[in-house]
C-alpha cells in the first residue's frame, strides 16, 4: 500500500516521509520535554482551573 501511493506522484516519497519524520521528531521532543519537566510546575498548571476562588 505504501509503495502504491508514493510511486504515483513524482517526488512524493520525499515530502511524505519528511512530514512523517517532522511529526516523529516533534512528538519525541514533546515526549522528552514531558519526561524532563518539573513535576511541581506541572502540578501548578494543572490546578489553574481550581484556583478561581470565585466559585
Amino acid at each position: 500500500m505504501f509503495r502504491q501511493f508514493i510511486t504515483k506522484i513524482p517526488g512524493a516519497d520525499v515530502y511524505m516521509v519528511t512530514s512523517f519524520l517532522t511529526f516523529l521528531v516533534f512528538f519525541v521532543l514533546v515526549g522528552l520535554y514531558l519526561a524532563l519537566v518539573d513535576r511541581n510546575h506541572i502540578k501548578h498548571i494543572s490546578r489553574l482551573p481550581l484556583d478561581d476562588s470565585n466559585d
Binding site: 504515483k8 513524482p10 512524493a12 511524505m16 512530514s19 511529526f23 514533546v30 510546575h41 498548571i45 482551573p49
Partner: protein, 736 residues
C-alpha cells in the same frame, strides 16, 4: 430574568486601570477587576434556544424518512432543503454558541482577566446570531452551495469570516492582558480551534459569485471533493472536538473539584491530535474517484487517530478516579461521564469506519448517521447540557430550580441516544448488506433500491422516537434553566482579584527555558498549531491540484449546456444531493445496479461536485438516459406514480414555476472564470441554445401526452438528469 449591574465604586466594568491596584502585604500588587458574565449568559441562552430549534428540525426530517407527508407539501420544508438547516443549526447554532459560552467563561478565569473588549463580545454575539438567522432564511429558500456543513452562500461566508476574526481578536486580546503567566491546556485547544477553523473556512469557501446569493465553487470534481472533505472532517475535528476538549479540561476538574488526571498526557495528546486529525479527511472518499494514494493516507492517519483521541477520553474519565462516589450523587457529572464515554466510542468507531472493508458496507448508509449522532448527541450535547446546568446557577447565585427535572433529563436524554443510535446501526448494516447481496444465480437479491428502503422504515421510526426523547429532555432543560434564571439575579459583572504579572519573569525550579518560553506565549502556540495542521493539509491538497495525472482527462466529457447548468442548479436548490449520491463505487454490486463505476475525469466541470454522502435514494450518476423524459416528469410530480411506496417528496412546483433564464449568461461566465471552457459564442447564444434544447424536451414530452411550457423549471431539471454520467458512454460507443 434579573440582571444585577450593581458596582462598588472601584469596580466599574470592563476597564482595568492602575489606580485600582491594591497592595497586599508580602505579595505582588493585586488588581481588582470583573468577569463579564453577561456575555456568557447570552451565549448560554442562545445555546438553549437554537438547540431546541435544531433538534426540532431534526425530529421533523427524521419523520420525513418514513412519512413523506411530513414534508408538509411546500417547497420550503422538503427534506432536501431542511436537512442542511438541521445540521447547520445543531453544529453552528447549538454547538457554536455552546463553545463561545464555555470559552468566554473559562478563558476569563484561566487568564484572570475580563474579556479584552465588551464591544467585541457584543459584536461577536449578535453577529453570530444574525448569521444563524441568515442561514435559517436562506437554506429553506434553496440558497445553498450544497457543500455539506458549508452550505451558506458567499455573503454569509464573508460575515462568518469577519465575526470569527472578531472572536479571535477578543480571545487573543484577553490572553495578552492576562494576569496568569501560564496558559492552561484548555487555552491551547481554543487557539488551535481558532486558527484551524479560520484556515478551513477560507480554503473551502473559495467560490465565484454569480449574484448576491448564488456562487460556484472554485474547485471542480475530485479537487472539490477533497477540499470539501478535508473541511468536513476537520469541521468535526476543530469545531466539534478540540473546543470541547478544551471545555472538558476546564469544566470537568471544576465539577469534580480535582485537577485533570494527567496534565502531561493532555499536552501530548493535544499536539498529536491536531497534527493527525488534519490528514484523515480522505476517509470520507474511499472507493471514490479520489487517487488511491490520498485514500490510503486518509486511512493510515485515521487509524493513528485512535491514540490521541483516547488519550483525551481516558484523561477525562480518569480525572474522576477516586471520585466516582460523586458521580453517583451528581447528575451533572453523569452527563459529563456519558459525554466523554460517547467521545471514546465515536473516536474508536471513526477509525474502524475508515478501514476500507468496513467502509465498503457502511458508507452511504445510516451507519454513518448513527456514528455522527453518538458524537453529536453524546459528546457535544451532553457536555453542553452539563456546562449549562453548572454555569447558570453559579452566574445567578441561586440553586438549580429542580434537581428532579435535571435527573429526568439525564435519563430521557440517555434513552434518546440509545433509541437513536441502536436502530440506526441495525439499519445501516442491513442497508449496506442488502445493497451487496447476490442470489446464488449471481444476480442482485434486491435489484429494486426501494425494496431496501422499505426494510428500514421501522428503524427510522424508532430513530425518530429516540430523537423526540432527546428533544423532550432539552425542552425540560430549557424550562428548568429559565426557571432558575427567573429565581435568581444575574451577576453580570463578577468581582475578582488577582496579582499583577511582573514584567520580568525569572524562571525557577528545574524547568527548561524553552518550555517556559513556549507555554507562556500565545502567538508561538498559534504558529505551532498552524504549522501542524498545514503540514497535513498541504501534502494532501497540493498534489491533487498540481499533478495532472491525478485526474485523467476523458475526451468525451464536455461542459454542461446552458439548460443543463440551470437544471443542475435546481438539483442543488432542492438539495437532491442530501439523498442521492453521484458516485458509483468500483464494486460489482454497484456496477450491476447502476452501471459503469465513476471516473475522476468525469467530474472536471462539476462546480461544485455532487457526490453526496448518503443514499436514502439510489445513486444517480448513471441516471442519464436510463428512463424517458416523461418518466422524470411523472416522478417529480408524484414519485409514487412511478415508484409505489417511495418516500421521496413530490416536487409539483417545478412544473408550475418559470425558470429564471436571465441568470444564464452570468452563470456561464462565472463557470468560465473557474476554468470551464465555454466559448464567447456559447455564452452569447446561451439563451437561444437553452430554448432549443428545452423545445426538444417538451416535444418528446408532448409525444407521451404531457403538455408543459418549455420555460418551466421541470424542463431544465430533466435536461440535467438526462445528461448525468452520459459522456463516458460516448467513449464506449466510440471505442466499439
Amino acid at each position: 430574568m434579573n440582571v444585577s449591574l450593581k458596582q462598588t465604586p472601584l469596580d466599574a466594568p470592563g476597564v482595568d486601570s492602575p489606580d485600582r491596584r491594591k497592595p497586599i502585604t508580602g505579595k505582588p500588587v493585586a488588581e481588582r477587576f470583573e468577569y463579564d458574565n453577561l456575555i456568557v449568559r447570552n451565549f448560554g441562552v442562545a445555546t438553549i434556544i437554537w438547540g431546541v430549534v435544531g433538534m426540532l428540525v431534526g425530529v421533523l426530517i427524521a419523520s420525513q424518512l418514513f412519512s413523506p407527508a411530513m414534508n408538509l407539501g411546500t417547497q420550503y420544508t422538503t427534506f432536501g432543503r431542511i436537512r442542511p438547516l438541521h445540521t447547520n443549526a445543531v453544529i453552528f447554532a447549538f454547538v457554536g454558541n455552546a463553545i463561545f459560552m464555555g470559552v468566554y467563561y473559562s478563558l476569563q478565569r484561566l487568564c484572570k482577566a475580563r474579556m479584552f473588549s465588551d464591544l467585541l463580545s457584543k459584536i461577536h454575539f449578535w453577529g453570530w446570531q444574525l448569521i444563524i438567522v441568515a442561514a435559517a432564511l436562506t437554506l429553506p429558500l434553496g440558497m445553498t452551495t450544497s457543500k455539506e456543513y458549508a452550505e451558506l452562500e458567499w455573503p454569509i461566508d464573508i460575515a462568518i469570516t469577519l465575526i470569527w476574526v472578531v472572536f479571535g481578536i477578543n480571545m487573543f486580546g484577553t490572553i495578552i492582558k492576562r494576569r496568569e503567566r501560564h496558559l492552561y491546556v484548555a487555552i491551547w485547544f481554543y487557539i488551535a480551534t481558532f486558527i484551524t477553523v479560520a484556515v478551513l473556512h477560507l480554503v473551502n469557501s473559495m467560490e465565484v459569485p454569480v449574484s448576491f446569493l448564488k456562487s460556484y465553487s472554485m474547485y471542480a470534481g475530485v479537487q472539490d471533493a477533497l477540499v470539501q472533505w478535508w473541511y468536513g472532517h476537520n469541521a468535526v475535528a476543530f469545531f466539534l472536538t478540540t473546543p470541547f476538549l478544551g471545555l472538558m479540561y476546564y469544566f470537568l476538574p471544576k465539577m469534580a473539584n480535582r485537577p485533570v488526571y494527567s496534565y502531561k498526557l493532555s499536552i501530548l495528546h493535544f499536539w498529536a491530535l491536531i497534527f493527525i486529525y488534519i490528514w484523515a479527511g480522505p476517509h470520507h472518499l474511499l472507493y471514490s474517484s479520489l487517487p488511491d494514494w490520498a485514500q490510503s493516507l486518509g486511512v493510515v492517519f485515521s487509524i493513528m487517530l485512535i491514540a490521541p483521541s483516547w488519550g483525551g477520553m481516558l484523561n477525562g474519565l480518569l480525572t474522576l478516579r477516586g471520585a466516582w462516589d460523586k458521580v453517583r450523587e451528581d447528575t451533572i457529572l453523569k452527563f459529563m461521564v456519558v459525554g466523554v464515554t460517547a467521545y471514546g466510542m465515536a473516536t474508536f468507531e471513526g477509525p474502524m469506519l475508515s478501514l476500507k472493508n468496513v467502509n465498503a458496507i457502511a458508507h452511504f448508509t445510516d451507519w454513518v448517521v448513527s456514528h455522527v449522532h453518538v458524537g453529536a448527541l453524546g459528546w457535544n450535547g451532553f457536555l453542553t447540557f452539563a456546562i449549562l446546568y453548572w454555569l447558570i446557577p453559579r452566574m445567578y447565585h441561586t440553586p438549580l430550580y429542580s434537581k428532579k427535572l435535571l435527573n429526568i433529563h439525564f435519563w430521557v436524554g440517555t434513552l434518546g441516544i440509545i433509541f437513536y443510535a441502536v436502530p440506526m446501526y441495525i439499519s445501516g448494516f442491513a442497508q449496506g448488506m442488502m445493497w451487496k447481496e447476490f442470489t446464488p444465480e449471481g444476480v442482485l437479491k434486491y435489484p429494486n433500491f426501494l425494496e431496501t428502503t422499505m426494510q428500514l422504515i421501522p428503524m427510522h421510526m424508532m430513530r425518530a422516537f429516540g430523537g423526540t426523547l432527546y428533544l423532550a429532555g432539552a425542552i425540560l432543560m430549557a424550562y428548568n434553566l429559565f426557571k432558575t434564571m427567573a429565581a435568581g439575579t444575574l451577576v453580570a459583572n463578577e468581582p475578582a482579584e488577582a496579582p499583577v504579572l511582573a514584567k520580568e519573569y525569572v524562571a525557577t525550579g528545574h524547568d527548561t527555558y524553552w518550555h517556559r518560553w513556549f507555554e507562556r506565549k500565545p502567538i508561538p502556540l498559534l504558529i505551532g498549531s498552524l504549522v501542524m495542521i498545514l503540514i497535513g493539509s498541504l501534502i494532501e491538497l497540493i498534489p491533487t491540484f498540481m499533478v495532472a495525472s491525478n485526474v485523467p482527462t476523458i475526451t468525451t466529457v464536455q461542459p454542461y449546456t446552458a439548460l443543463e447548468v440551470q437544471g443542475r442548479d435546481l438539483y442543488i436548490r432542492e438539495g437532491c444531493v442530501n439523498c442521492h449520491s453521484q458516485l458509483v463505487r468500483p464494486f460489482r454490486s454497484e456496477t450491476e445496479r447502476y452501471g459503469e463505476y465513476s471516473k475522476a475525469g468525469e467530474f472536471v466541470y462539476d462546480h461544485p461536485f455532487l457526490w453526496g454522502s448518503k443514499r436514502t435514494g439510489p445513486d444517480l450518476h448513471r441516471e442519464g438516459g436510463k428512463y424517458p423524459d416523461s418518466w422524470h416528469y411523472h416522478h417529480m410530480r408524484d414519485p409514487n406514480a412511478m415508484s409505489p411506496n417511495s418516500i421521496m417528496p413530490a416536487y409539483p412546483w417545478l412544473i408550475d414555476q418559470k425558470l429564471d433564464a436571465s441568470s444564464t449568461q452570468a452563470k456561464l461566465k462565472a463557470l468560465k472564470s473557474v476554468g470551464v471552457p465555454y466559448s464567447d459564442m456559447e455564452i452569447a447564444y446561451a439563451e437561444a441554445d437553452m430554448d432549443k434544447q428545452a423545445q426538444a424536451i417538451t416535444d418528446r414530452l408532448s409525444k407521451d401526452g404531457i403538455k408543459v411550457d418549455k420555460d418551466r423549471e421541470i424542463v431544465a431539471l430533466i435536461a440535467y438528469l438526462q445528461r448525468i454520467g452520459t459522456d463516458i458512454k460516448k467513449l464506449e460507443t466510440a471505442q466499439k
